[in-house]
Symmetry: C2
Subunit: 609 residues, 2 copies
């Protein structure tokens, strides 16, 4: 050992002990013939006091920032204490100092508020990782990992490793593939998830499985996506939906407790997908604040459970509302006193290309009970009051109304709601609110191929009472115009997403475990029987030998860590992330390989596309 | 939940309770109108008793083996108890039975002694995994995983995930590569180990790192190798060799305790590589038994620490010994009474092509003190007695002697020693003996390229007192004939292997952390500076910014589990292994991929080789 103690553990209890520390020079401060060195390691910072003797021992090779040194000395009480840090009451009067390794000047400062830009920090990620803020993230990630494992272990889940070199069965996202040297012209694929393997493990009787596992998707990268990412992947047998929800509420609550010291209180709300879409405008609502969406016009496409207020705004001669497919409103507390300038700014905000609305209608419901709107020409005070009443507005609120095509308007009002939640400080960083979203549609319609696609994945079961609908109808869509009238359009999935503060942190489903139903699903997705057998024959086969009812869930581990760490970016929680072009700029990967390697793999670089 | 209890937990304490179980039909036994069903799940087996009523409820759809059923009934005391299993005192008098899923007849019996051959079991691995013997292995693997993590956590190691899509830097084994869609003509590589990343984490100050991590090597597969395998990968900073040895002795002892209930007693022996090679004939000796090798002739190539007995056998006119490069002997307890037939069989054994010796000389040192040999013509009784004395033989032993080329003879006597250890029952399954092998040569000589190759890997440091030898000499070998006289030939690595019962279970080293030394290493391996920078520039760069002294170790997790499970084959401990051609026969992977996929990746299949 190069040390007797770490830089995080010495205090007044150690006074007069001789100790040896090793670490990095964080700062150097000279005062005449003495120098103070802040010595840093993973565990903390300890102040060293170097006198004339040590200086001369370093003659010709003075210390610098980020030098690695070993210092032996006596623990002494500081004259000016720093009570901000655990070791701040002592310093080491150094008797001997050894430089273990030198450092050239780092390309950016190793501090929380570094002067290094993103590219530079990624290139020198090994230096970026030294910064306290980054280290905290990596440590938090480990704490989450550990807590998840401990909980799952207590619940009798076992970690079983599934293979990384598997078969390419692209369905949804693109696979990364690996050419095989021993099987000319053939390729492995890297798993997008261990989905089929964990199902096979249920068929094998393993009952409760988990894995914290890398997955791979070769997708065009958006700001916060990585080609390789980590899931907490779980599966259980002999369960129904409610068993899964309870088990994994428990997991997340346990993680909150262990990692954040937060006792998560209260029931976790369960909301149907339909409600989430109509009341919050998206399928992962942030329910830390209310500001629910009022639907002022009957939905045209779908008849959902949400009552619509079409009658209120109809027949007023306001063409924008009359012609709109959808009219949606939110009621913003305190907004009645906003200035004209503020409304103009907000109108510009909804007109930005990212939102794409034509305009914004507002109704001020003043504290004194009067009501004024930007559409007074069309709506009487009485009418406005009944709109306010329908929107459950309070005096002092402003009602903001958007109108347009259904999907776009819903997305816009959802974005507006989140923006206002943010501006009004309703999305509190230290408040965590969980939510289950349930009953997703099993299928989405693909216009391009005139067939169904699985909204979740092809192994998700329909709700138990809709299995017969699925079995007893032909999935073929004879008239594309009327696809919404096909019985498959209304089948709900036995699936669930866990949402935390407006982010989907996990999702899963009860699985199909009957060969007949699984084949019907593949039919619906437009796969021929041959294709289904070629790709998933092993799973269809497995279902013939006594497959138990089963289901599971996978949590996006990177995102969960980011949210718990109070960050927007998953990259901050990955030790060695890739950039938006999928490159590791530190390694400079990917890179070219030798012709010899290509030859061995029976492939060549394509010259024409 | 489909059950109130599992099949492993009910006993007399539950008498008269109504319970619901779910699981697989292991066996069906009919006695007139009643049927006994052994119901199996992950946790055990419980006997169900079905009477006439249940039978009629299943009318038209009788039960079969491996059916998945749910049964509700009353816990009752059995008339004939089976005390071999925890649930053997009770049975369930079933009131209601539901078939959850049917099963066709499995292709082999789901029993410990199955009738299924290897190929069939691999194709239907999901059924093979149901067998109790296989399940035990998978559960043991999890227990080892869990124990390792718990120990390392207690010791302040943290699990940090390293990337899977990295850069191809083939050095030693072949990389698996992954074509990049976003970077035409470029490839990622899958990691052969996280070696450079864990070193970077030490440079970043993480101090103690671990990971249970998949690694990939595209090698021709020998019987017990897999293209993807798992390591327990660890690294520490500010340590010296002894710190690592103590830390990881602790790990393995902890695993023994937690997983096998074995309190490992006594010191763990530490042996130099030189000693291992001369005293046991290989670098991973099984020291559960003695039978050390006596070296009857001075080693020609190397002068090691082992005293040689060349004087005893010299000048006797026996041309086999006189002409042999090496003459090695072992002394086998009780062998003096072996029959002529037994010696003939053993002679045939060493003459087999796998061993390849010309013959076997033996000396019987009888209980009565007389001594007789197969070479009496050349050696007097007195001479034989002095050979026996040199070999430290006891009365009743037989001395077996092999002669020939050094390497071959050493390997042969080592194989013979292990074979006899096996035959004499000295390699006890339930006895575990650990050993550290130290001081490996840093370099091996590559005749093909007339240069040095790293025996361990290019990041291993020489022993501290040999760093200057390495720095101060030119690695170029001017005269290939005399490579043994080059100063590099005698440099020992600061490396260590952990050996368990004759198997290498882990290995590691103290690493180079100085740029100058690392560059010298790359020089020695025949890399140009450009090449070194292209491949490992990030690491060389990192060493300039304050790299701490560090070192680590990696354990072969698959093998460790196999040994602890008492098996020779790692495949038995991998849920979904590949066969010797690297194929997953269950998935039928690798497989061809679409032309569209190839195009997107800018590659095509090579038609000529």
């Amino acid at each position: 050992m190069f040390r007797t103690h770490t830089c995080g553990e010495l205090g007044l209890a150690n006074l007069n002990q001789e100790v040896t520390l090793a670490g990095w020079v964080q700062t150097l401060r000279k005062f005449g013939s003495i120098t103070f060195v802040d010595l840093r390691d993973r565990y903390g910072i300890t102040q060293l006091l170097l006198d004339e003797t040590q200086h001369s021992s370093l003659a010709g090779s003075p210390l610098g920032r980020e030098y690695v040194i070993q210092a032996t000395g006596i623990v002494s009480e500081r004259s000016s204490k720093n009570l901000q840090i655990p070791t701040g009451e002592i310093e080491i009067k150094v008797g001997k100092i050894v430089i273990l390794n030198k450092s050239v000047t780092p390309p950016f400062t190793i501090q929380d508020d570094t002067d290094g830009g993103d590219d530079l920090r990624m290139k020198f990620r090994y230096l970026d990782l030294r910064r306290q803020v980054v280290k905290k993230n990596i440590e938090l990630r480990y704490a989450v990992n550990r807590a998840a494992r401990n909980y799952l272990h207590q619940k009798h889940f076992i970690d079983i490793e599934t293979p990384f070199l598997i078969k390419s069965t692209p369905e949804g996202a693109r696979d990364f593939v690996v050419p095989s040297r021993m099987n000319a012209g053939q390729f492995y694929a890297l798993p997008q998830s261990p989905q089929t393997f964990k199902q096979l493990l249920m068929v094998s009787g393993y009952d409760r499985y988990y894995q914290v596992v890398k997955c791979f998707r070769d997708e065009d990268l958006r700001a916060d996506r990585q080609p390789e990412f980590t899931q907490i992947d779980c599966e259980m047998s002999f369960i129904e939906q409610n068993d899964i929800l309870e088990m994994f509420e428990g997991l997340i609550k346990y993680i909150f407790k262990e990692v954040k010291g937060i006792e998560y209180k209260g029931e976790i709300e369960r909301m149907t997908w339909e409600d989430a879409m109509w009341v919050y405008g998206n399928d992962k609502p942030d329910i830390r604040f209310d500001m629910k969406i009022a639907n002022l016009k009957s939905p045209i496409k779908r008849k959902g459970a949400v009552e619509a207020g079409g009658w209120i705004i109809a027949n007023a001669g306001f063409p924008v509302f009359d012609n709109a497919e959808t009219v949606l409103a939110i009621s913003v507390p305190g907004g009645a006193t906003w200035t004209r300038k503020q409304f103009d700014e907000l109108t510009d905000w909804v007109k930005r290309p990212q939102i794409g609305m034509q305009g914004l209608v507002y109704i001020r419901y003043n504290e004194d009970g009067t009501i004024k709107s930007s559409v007074d020409k069309f709506y009487s005070e009485e009418k406005l009051l009944s709109i306010a009443s329908y929107c459950q507005s309070q005096k002092g609120d402003v009602i903001l109304i958007l109108a347009g095509r259904e999907e776009k308007t819903r997305k816009a009002i959802s974005d507006l709601r989140l923006e206002l939640g943010e501006r009004l400080g309703l999305r509190k960083k230290d408040e965590y609110t969980l939510l289950w979203v349930l009953d997703f549609p099993l299928f989405e319609y693909s216009e391009e191929d005139n067939r169904w696609v699985a909204r979740h994945h092809p192994f998700t079961a329909p709700k138990p009472d809709q299995i017969s609908t699925m079995i007893n109808h032909d999935p073929v869509i004879s008239n594309p115009e009327l696809y919404l009238e096909h019985p498959y359009a209304n089948i709900k999935a036995n699936a669930y997403d866990m949402v935390l503060n407006g982010n989907e942190i996990g999702g899963g489903s009860i699985r199909i475990y009957q060969r007949e139903l699984q084949e019907k699903m593949f039919d619906a997705l437009g796969m021929t029987r041959e294709e289904a057998n070629h790709k998933f024959g092993f799973l269809l086969g497995a279902f013939e030998y006594g497959a138990p009812p089963h289901g599971g869930i996978a949590f996006g581990f990177d995102r969960l860590c980011a949210i718990l760490g109070g960050s927007e970016s998953i990259r901050d929680f990955i030790a060695f992330p890739k950039n938006n072009s999928g490159r590791d700029v530190m390694l400079d990967a990917p890179s070219t390989i030798d012709e010899k390697q290509l030859r061995e793999l029976f492939i060549e670089i394509r010259t024409e596309k």
